[in-house]
């Protein structure tokens, strides 16, 4: 299931922030440090996972360990979905 999140979220990032250019970014790479996503983009990403996976991201959840790489955000979404399920 985690892999599905990784690929879907990667697809969202590639089409919305890299404009379809398949950038070489790894699952572990920091979005902010690599410059892939800025603060506006991060909020779009949060909206995307909230709608796509029916989860609520609380203000306290907005920290790099939850959101700043594909690996982190996929694990975060997976945990949230499990908690709801």
């Amino acid at each position: 299931m985690n892999d599905t999140y990784v690929s879907e979220i990667r697809e969202f990032i590639v089409s919305n922030f890299l404009f379809g250019k398949q950038g070489e970014f790894s699952d572990e790479q920091s979005f902010l440090e690599s410059g892939i996503i800025d603060s506006t983009g991060l909020l779009e990403l949060v909206s995307f996972v909230e709608e796509r996976y029916g989860i609520a991201v609380a203000d306290a959840d907005l920290v790099p360990s939850n959101l700043d790489s594909l690996r982190n955000i996929s694990r975060f979404v997976s945990d949230k979905v499990a908690a709801h399920g």
């Binding site: 922030f17 902010l32 603060s39 909020l43 700043d68």
Partner: protein
């Protein structure tokens, strides 16, 4: 005095004092000054001298600051640009200012390395974790061979210290030339009204490629204070935690910085007993948002400020004590600067009469790089024409009505985008709002609003148009309200990208039916 001499003077006065705090790293004044000397020697070896441009596209940090002051020590002109591959400004800036050298970060280098952007640049340095292929030369390795002794001084205070690129009214990058005198005068004026001292420590989330960010650097260097660098402003919780950990005394933001903290952080739990003041600039923040911040944010003096890149940052400020009675005012001119309201026929406007804000003072730029026509249009004997329309009240407090460019002509009426945005911000579901003109068959132009919501709002368009209709004249009510997940921002500054919204409004999809 030249700008880099502020650094040299503070380093001589208190060599061990901390200039920068970056996560686990602390850099003293003496250390930073030595690094800047090394940069100056490197740039001189590259043949850089009086008037030569050096582009620096690095994130905020010691290397960026050392390179910035190092260019000036060598007699050159620093051109700070946003770092990162998402910044689209670099190729245009390279073409516009023909730099003798560039210093870029790793992500930018990887994104632009093979694009030919740097083909005509003699020296291309990269700050990278591992060596990169040509044309890139490792910046840190190159500095390692350079002495850290002071370099001989060249030039006068009127020489250019930097060129700062901003988006012109039509969106294309435009370089503002700023002299050593411009920056030093503005830094001293800001230091005076914020009462900054060596004990001050500011949380810096604004990039040094942006003049507001640079003004934080210049003012703190001038007094021997410290900057806490946090490049993860997208995570307001990280910023708040860092503010508490480092016991910062000051914080500076643009309206989107505050919106993010108010709507997507643990602001209510933040304990910031050392915070003495907060400054806000970079576009108008609605009175409703300011009131929200005063109610929920840390208890600290709140300075509303106004400025322009063309003014080396700052033009006016509103003393915190007057915030409650001068709602939505940008205050009065800062020390040493004059801001007048001039009518179209060149008269000084009467109190309450709307005209253009025109500024004079030692901080006003000599003009735009390579753009004599635009320079002549905006800079004259009367001062710098800001393009902002506003008025002064009986106490001399200034109020902005809108940008000359953002005034919307609805039939025979004119309305400033700002007035409508302020009303939309009063709605509890609105996170951010921007209003732009769109063509309208009958009215000529009509206001179209773009909003990002902080909480779900059923039938948002009807709800927000109804909210506006209850508070505004009918012609000021947006004909469309478009809900976006987030409003587009200009890279680096965090300001709303109004050009993108105008284009979207004009694209037909969003035309009023």
């Amino acid at each position: 005095m030249r700008l880099h001499q502020l650094l040299e003077a503070s380093a001589a006065a208190a060599p061990g004092a901390i200039l920068l705090v970056e996560r686990d790293r602390r850099v003293s004044y003496a250390e930073l000054d030595r690094q800047a000397n090394q940069c100056a020697h490197l740039f001189q070896q590259c043949g850089i001298g009086a008037g030569d441009r050096v582009i620096i596209a690095l994130e905020n940090g010691a290397e960026m600051v050392a390179a910035y002051f190092g260019v000036m020590k060598a007699g050159g002109v620093a051109v700070p640009l946003p770092a990162g591959p998402r910044s689209d400004r670099l190729p245009a800036a390279v073409a516009d200012c023909s730099p003798r050298a560039v210093v870029v970060d790793e992500a930018t280098a990887r994104a632009l390395g093979q694009s030919g952007t740097f083909a005509d640049v003699p020296h291309v340095f990269a700050l990278a974790s591992a060596p990169l292929p040509a044309p890139f030369v490792d910046f840190v390795a190159a500095l390692g061979d350079c002495r850290d002794t002071p370099v001989a001084l060249h030039g006068t205070d009127e020489d250019l210290a930097a060129i700062i690129y901003t988006s012109g009214s039509t969106g294309e990058p435009r370089g503002v030339m700023l002299s050593h005198r411009n920056f030093v005068a503005n830094a001293r004026s800001i230091v005076a009204y914020l009462h900054l001292t060596a004990a001050d420590r500011v949380m810096c989330v604004l990039p040094f490629s942006y003049v507001y960010g640079l003004s934080l650097l210049h003012t703190h260097v001038a007094v021997g204070g410290s900057l806490v660098i946090e490049n993860r402003a997208a995570f307001p919780n990280v910023v708040l935690a860092s503010m508490a950990e480092h016991e910062v005394t000051g914080f500076a933001g643009v309206p989107s910085t505050f919106a993010l903290m108010l709507h997507r952080s643990n602001l209510d739990q933040a304990r910031l007993p050392h915070l003495r003041y907060v400054t806000q600039a970079g576009g108008g923040m609605s009175p409703a948002r300011i009131a929200d911040w005063l109610a929920r944010g840390p208890k600290a003096d709140f300075f509303v400020m106004y400025g322009a890149t063309e003014a080396a940052a700052r033009l006016t400020y509103l003393p915190p004590a007057e915030l409650s009675q001068k709602r939505a005012s940008i205050g009065r001119a800062i020390p040493g600067v004059e801001v007048r309201v001039l009518t179209d026929d060149g008269r000084i406007a009467a109190p309450g009469e709307v005209g253009e804000l025109v500024a004079r003072g030692p901080n006003i730029a000599p003009g735009y790089w390579n753009r004599p026509a635009e320079t002549a249009e905006r800079f004259g004997p009367e001062g710098y024409r800001t393009g902002d329309l506003g008025y002064a009240d009986d106490d001399g407090c200034l109020f902005i009505v809108g940008r000359r460019h953002d005034m919307i002509k609805v039939g025979a009426n004119r309305v400033g985008a700002r007035e409508i945005e302020d009303v939309l911000h009063e709605h509890p579901a609105v996170h951010e709002a921007a209003v732009v003109p769109a063509c309208h068959d009958l009215l000529g132009e009509a206001p179209v609003a773009f909003v990002a919501l902080r909480q779900p709002l059923p039938d948002a368009e009807m709800a927000l148009r109804g909210h506006a209709a209850a508070r505004l004249a009918a012609y000021k009510v947006p004909t469309r309200v478009v809900v976006l997940p987030a409003l587009p921002k200009l890279s680096g500054t965090g300001k709303i990208d109004r050009m993108a919204l105008r284009q979207q409004a004009a694209s037909g999809q969003e035309l009023p039916s």
